[in-house]
Symmetry: C2
Subunit: 401 residues, 2 copies
């Protein structure tokens, strides 16, 4: 067996134990296709290094059976702790997981504003992580790694934020900055990608290999799972669903271009149109404006209906384009805000179904999964868990080499 095969074997077995443990060795071999002898060797290493442990089998087998007591393998939860965080508009949401993926504690905290200097934002994350660790009876030194989801254009592999509404600068090596500031390995990704990670790890995507997650907050986000893996593009700026164009020379987008999906369905797009309505108060709070708009539309007011109706149809068109290109098994519409109710609505899904290529086979399933910021943070934590596992395994590999 080559080093690379052994390395892959370790990764595969650790993942499998995390997913399905408690699990006996023989079943690990059956599921992964790794030979029993190799499973025995690798699990011995993982045991010795404290990443997994043996637990007695809770067996339905008849009593009185002789021989060695049967054992299953589980992840040793206390071997590592990880933090996942989501940075949203004015808010930090954090979750602390053990190495088995069990949730230990959470924290939600307000930020003083929406946009920060990179070091300021890193400090805010440090404070929150420190506070979370302490409230759970730990210190920063007990944490093995963190991952942070942030809105914007993020090259996850290089920890680079090309642009984010949360940062006052472009091209920030934010992963490196967080690693230095927190004093622990820290990883970043686009927030919508981490929702896709969460859906794959413990959400509606667990049993699907190819699916799309669409998120609506102030922007429109998207995460893409292809062949059970998150697809992140080759420059780290794929899945920019909100900036796909739905109209040549169309409405002006915050990004400076015209005709982006976001320029029709984003909250600022709705506010912009609402401000054109007779009697609109130019000083009104944007959130209240949208609330009033959606209320008026529901009540049948013609202009409000027209604004909301078009947003829904443009969103349906965008979704149909994703289906026409990817042909996924499943589309998950994720988010927590009431504001997306008019987009995550039956007539919009029906419109999308009418706008895809028609074949004599059912269109992809569409599910709406409402969840809060803490679930986004869990996605980040799952990403941290992947990365910390890689680090732990690479130490094992170096040791073995």
């Amino acid at each position: 067996m080559s080093d690379k095969q052994r390395e892959n074997g370790r990764r595969k077995l650790l993942e499998q134990i995390r997913r399905t443990g408690p699990i006996p060795r023989i079943e690990l071999s059956d599921i992964t296709g790794i030979s029993r002898a190799t499973v025995t060797t690798i699990t011995a290493e993982l045991l010795q290094n404290g990443l997994i442990r043996e637990v007695p089998r809770e067996s339905a087998e008849p009593e009185g059976r002789r021989g060695r007591p049967r054992v299953d393998l589980v992840i040793r939860g206390d071997s590592h702790l990880v933090v996942g965080a989501k940075i949203s508009n004015n808010r930090l949401s954090l979750v602390l997981l053990d190495f088995a993926g069990a949730q230990i504690d959470t924290l939600e905290t307000e930020l003083s504003r929406a946009t920060f200097e990179p070091q300021e934002l890193a400090n805010a994350v440090l404070n929150a992580v420190d506070q979370l660790a302490q409230s759970a009876g730990y210190t920063m030194a007990d944490i093995s790694g963190s991952a942070i989801g942030i809105a914007g254009i993020v090259d996850a592999a290089h920890g680079l934020v090309y642009w984010s509404p949360s940062l006052s600068q472009r091209n920030v090596e934010f992963g490196k900055l967080l690693t230095q500031t927190l004093g622990l390995p820290s990883f970043i990704d686009n927030d919508a990608n981490l929702v896709a990670v969460a859906e794959k790890a413990f959400g509606l995507g667990q049993s699907h290999s190819d699916f799309i997650v669409v998120t609506i907050e102030s922007g429109v986000g998207m995460g893409l799972v292809i062949g059970n893996e998150i697809y992140r593009g080759t420059r780290g700026c794929g899945a920019e669903f909100g900036h796909t164009k739905v109209h040549l020379d169309g409405a002006l987008c915050r990004c400076g271009q015209r005709g982006c999906l976001e320029a029709y369905v984003g909250d600022y797009a709705l506010v912009r149109e609402a401000m054109t309505m007779p009697g609109a108060d130019p000083n009104a709070d944007p959130g209240e404006t949208i609330e009033a708009l959606l209320r008026d539309a529901k009540a049948g007011e013609a202009t409000a209906k027209s604004i909301v109706y078009r947003a829904g149809r443009v969103f349906a068109l965008g979704l149909a384009n994703l289906v026409n290109i990817f042909d996924p098994q499943l589309i998950i519409l994720a988010g927590e805000q009431m504001q997306s109710d008019h987009l995550y609505a039956d007539p919009v899904i029906a419109e999308m179904r009418k706008s895809i290529v028609q074949i004599d086979k059912a269109p992809p399933e569409v599910v709406i999964h409402k969840w809060g910021n803490l679930m986004w943070a869990r996605g980040a934590a799952a990403y941290a868990l992947d990365n910390v596992s890689e680090i732990a395994l690479s130490e094992l590999n170096e040791h073995a080499a």
Copy 2:
């Protein structure tokens, strides 16, 4: 080593030998990460079953070196023959390859019309394959498999054509029908996917893991390579680039929906607009109409320019959407028709670059690769080669089990 590992090892080694042979065993082990012992075992099986052969090394090593003569491994070209074919409007293009991928012969033949009953079309393919085999000094019985590219919506995995402009019926099990009619294992795929297979196997995509191929004929096609593999969607109807919507309630498409890309850039879209020009002859030949339109646009005639200009801008918008979603390394614009010159033009590429999400990193490379129907057929043949290799290996696996 498990059966599955051995199976994967066989596939991997055969692929590697085809790609890089003549190659010594030790290098096969280094490149694939498969242990030397396993390489020795598997290549012995492949030798015994006649799929590969040994050739003396053409060595730069000093003369007079003692010991066993060094050998490299190559695919045994004569072990299998495959046919690849492309069905286009009124035309069948075929290529005959040996198992090493070397081209033996080609054939191009006219079809009597554009749309056929499934059995009629299968018969036409049979006649052409038979003629090609004979002209190369073989019979049908010498051919191990075929693959055919066809325009339309194709579920390659199930050999099912949901819809094709070449077939008078929907939902045709055309793979099965071809297998029966030709009397040899036959596979089908969407023609643009097979262009992507060809680009990956022996074209501009050889050194890229993630790229998009866009084709323009009477429709607009697309093939998608993600992580070195063709991505075919989950129902077999992905990559429908021509039917992504670029305008809400836009121009009417042949598919019956409104606002599809094809309804702006397809030849029928150009003809439709040209027919609105003053003095247009409603009985003119569509091909001549387009030629005249493009000529007039080049000469500066305002209406012709406006028609061609919008088609180019809509095409740029569609391409930008693909980049915003996939963030590929490379976009290959493939095709042979002069008709796409106005779309594969510098101003269109420049417009696409302006319409993608702007980051401080170079946009994906765009290359134009003009080729004829025979190159499409080579893509089909590469797909046949993959499938015939699978069959040969599965026989090996059964034998070994």
